[in-house]
């Protein structure tokens, strides 16, 4: 006989389920400007508190406050706003295209536009991102062709990836955008390897790894942090915490860790949390981490605190697992509106100009879409060749594949 009570299993639950009242009281939101900005060569031990706070620049009045602000000119901010507007419009058009059957699948960024758009501006030509499926802003902010993105989504005759990949799994080496896998976390350690290669070759390029809150539970996340820590790889390790991994709330992956950023502390990696819906804060933190990498000071872990407003993909319905009004209650607001309000506050923008810009952006996206659709959509018009299915498995086609291609009649 034992004196102990029977054991029970702890399974974390989100604060609220459908039908309940959204509650984000657990997300402590510090005042904008209240978090210090250490030197990039600060001893990681001395800045451990940054893993538990949230770095913010834009306050509720649209003002940029504190030590992380002031890095971007008005022109750069206007460009950032335009990138986010393009991404949001692009998403809306592609969601509609999916509903119209022009593609089978799409993943939107609603609410998370600032993360990838602002991060991209901290990189230099030659740097390499190892993205997940919700960082198309990296391509848009790099000036990649909207039409090429759409042709990939439509798997048409102009698809740069020849119909081999599901929609949104882009690849563009020229734009520092590594081929998307579709498997989770695998690319995190690859980014570390790429960065190690840059160091081995005494190059100056850096890498950026991307992962979502849910996939931090994968073993490859741990592998990446061990390798990055051991070899002080010039890599920025990004975690986009958008609160939801399909239907699973972030607490299932986070477990007993206070924050996702805090995972870096055990590895001696400087870890920062940042307001992911604040374009200025995202850019400033990305710049700080990139600077560390470029100065050979090693990796930095960044957690972007944000919210996935839409569904995970066109294949799920969030109302089945979270309150419909949850996104309205998200305390960090909308990244596009916040930057717009800031630009109006500093006198660089106006509601009228914003309306006009919205119309221009829509026109740009629709023009690209029409051009892309003239080359086909998933079930109509131009398609990639079946012959292409057999190419690029190897640099040189081995005999068994040549035989199989003949059998396929192509």
């Amino acid at each position: 006989m034992t004196d102990y009570a029977p054991l029970t299993l702890h399974v974390p639950e989100p604060a609220v389920r459908p039908g309940g009242t959204p509650d984000f009281s657990s997300v402590g939101v510090p005042r904008a400007g209240s978090v210090a900005r250490p030197e990039v060569n600060a001893d990681p031990e001395s800045i451990r508190d940054l893993a538990y706070s949230i770095i913010r620049v834009l306050n509720r009045d649209g003002k940029a406050i504190g030590p992380w602000g002031g890095l971007l000119s008005d022109e750069e901010l206007l460009e950032g706003l335009r990138h986010m507007m393009i991404l949001r419009t692009f998403d809306a058009r592609m969601l509609m295209a999916q509903r119209q059957g022009k593609t089978s699948f799409y993943m939107q960024h609603m609410g998370e536009e600032a993360v990838s758009c602002a991060f991209r501006k901290a990189l230099l030509p030659g740097d390499m991102n190892f993205p997940t499926y919700r960082q198309a802003g990296l391509l848009i902010a790099a000036g990649y062709s909207l039409g090429d993105m759409m042709c990939q989504i439509y798997s048409n005759e102009r698809d740069p990836l020849k119909g081999r990949q599901m929609p949104v799994l882009y690849s563009s080496k020229e734009d520092g955008f590594f081929s998307l896998s579709g498997n989770l976390a695998t690319q995190y350690i690859q980014a570390v390897g790429w960065a190690m290669a840059s160091a081995i070759k005494n190059d100056t390029k850096i890498a950026a790894a991307w992962i979502g809150d849910g996939a931090t539970a994968e073993s490859d996340f741990h592998a990446a942090l061990v390798f990055a820590s051991t070899y002080k790889a010039p890599v920025v390790l990004n975690i986009v915490n958008n609160q939801w991994a399909i239907s699973t709330f972030q607490g299932i992956a986070r477990g007993g860790s206070g924050t996702f950023a805090a995972r870096g502390l055990g590895f001696g990696i400087p870890a920062l949390r940042v307001d992911g819906n604040d374009y200025l804060a995202v850019h400033a933190v990305a710049k700080w981490a990139a600077e560390r990498a470029r100065r050979n000071l090693g990796p930095t872990l960044i957690e972007y605190v944000t919210y996935r407003v839409g569904a995970h993909s066109t294949s799920d319905d969030p109302s089945a697992y979270r309150p419909k009004t949850e996104s309205d209650a998200w305390p960090l607001g909308d990244p596009v509106i916040r930057l717009k309000n800031h630009l109006i506050t500093i006198g660089a923008w106006s509601d009228e100009r914003h309306k006009q810009a919205e119309a221009e952006v829509l026109d740009t996206v629709i023009t690209a879409q029409k051009e892309a659709e003239s080359h086909g959509t998933l079930h109509a018009g131009g398609k990639p060749s079946v012959r292409d299915m057999f190419e690029d498995v190897y640099a040189e086609m081995p005999p068994h594949l040549r035989w199989q291609r003949q059998q396929a009649g192509v």
Partner: protein
């Protein structure tokens, strides 16, 4: 010509390639200062520096994942997984990443990567130091799989693998490292220095992947083997007197089907031998191919001699291992049918 053990030949291949190409880097568990638990990388760190040959954390997925990133950057990593049995955490990186990168990016990114793994049994290693997982790799599109059977081939094949533009799985039968083991575990070891295939040319040379070699000409039967089993097959043939043609496949994928086909058409009989488990083993693929291409030339059913479909045992190793006695019985039975 100098004679070398197989592990010396493998080390020599990496040495030659590291000397020729700054982009070749070598790493893995215990690989750096110590030179690997089988000494495959001994001296390379001292010669080429710590940034080109180094120890890694014990994390196979990390080793291969980092190597994929390095290969995408433009390096040519040649990494070691300490035992093929430890490969499984890296399988996702090998299958979903290394093997797919060229295809999914339409050639924008490629993965010239070699994953070396000591494989096979015969060293009292039990289930975690004896496995032969080659069929797990030949089943994956985008990979090449190589299994050398001697020092001379090992060096030329490894050089070819490092120069290959695509990922290559390089399985090293560890029981062959020090001598041409023929399955007679109760006899003294024959060293490579007494074997003609222990002659390893100096410098750079290539044994091209996808080319099998006839180790023994014969008219009665075709014996398909690779790695350690080439030597087991030679012993079985010598002991039974069956005039078998022994083909050492050397590369499982791409496979030299032409050489196999020509031999089976000539002999009309085929026995396939491997250490790995039987069901869905590479022998099943070979058997299907022989049937598809040589059916009307076959006098008897294609026969397989393999490891049993059990985990690799410890104390019963030599009841598990398909040694010369079992192979010999299969040869005689095939001739009597």
């Amino acid at each position: 010509m100098p004679r070398k053990t197989m592990i010396e030949a493998i080390r020599d291949a990496m040495d030659v390639m590291m000397d020729r190409d700054d982009n070749v880097v070598v790493f893995g568990e215990d690989v750096g200062f110590f030179g690997g638990v089988f000494r495959g990388t001994q001296g390379l760190q001292a010669k080429y520096g710590k940034s080109r040959c180094f120890d890694t954390p014990i994390n196979e997925s990390g080793i291969v994942g980092a190597a994929v990133g390095m290969a995408a950057y433009g390096l040519r990593p040649c990494v070691e997984i300490q035992f093929a049995d430890y490969m499984y955490p890296a399988y996702d990186q090998i299958v979903s990443e290394a093997a797919r990168l060229r295809y999914r990016s339409n050639g924008q990114f490629t993965c010239p990567l070699v994953v070396r793994m000591p494989t096979g049994g015969g060293i009292s290693g039990g289930q975690t130091h004896s496995q032969s997982p080659e069929a797990l790799f030949t089943h994956v599109s985008g990979l090449k799989t190589v299994v050398p059977s001697n020092p001379s081939d090992a060096k030329g094949l490894l050089i070819a693998a490092i120069e290959d533009p695509d990922p290559v799985i390089f399985l090293e039968p560890k029981r062959l490292y020090n001598g041409p083991f023929d399955g007679h575990h109760d006899r003294p070891i024959t060293p490579w220095s007494k074997h003609e295939l222990g002659e390893v040319p100096n410098g750079h040379y290539v044994v091209p992947p996808g080319k099998a070699i006839v180790r023994r000409q014969g008219a009665a039967l075709t014996l398909l083997a690779y790695g350690t089993m080439v030597h087991v097959g030679m012993a079985a043939v010598a002991e039974t007197g069956v005039d078998a043609e022994i083909i050492d496949l050397r590369t499982l994928l791409p496979l030299d089907l032409e050489t196999i086909e020509a031999s089976v058409r000539k002999t009309g009989r085929c026995v396939i031998i491997h250490e790995a488990t039987r069901t869905s083993g590479f022998g099943a693929e070979l058997s299907a191919l022989v049937q598809e291409t040589c059916f009307y030339h076959l006098e008897t059913p294609v026969r397989r001699v393999t490891g049993w479909d059990t985990p690799y045992p410890y104390a019963q190793e030599w009841d598990y291992f398909p040694g010369p006695a079992r192979v010999g019985r299969a040869l005689l039975e095939t001739m009597e049918q």
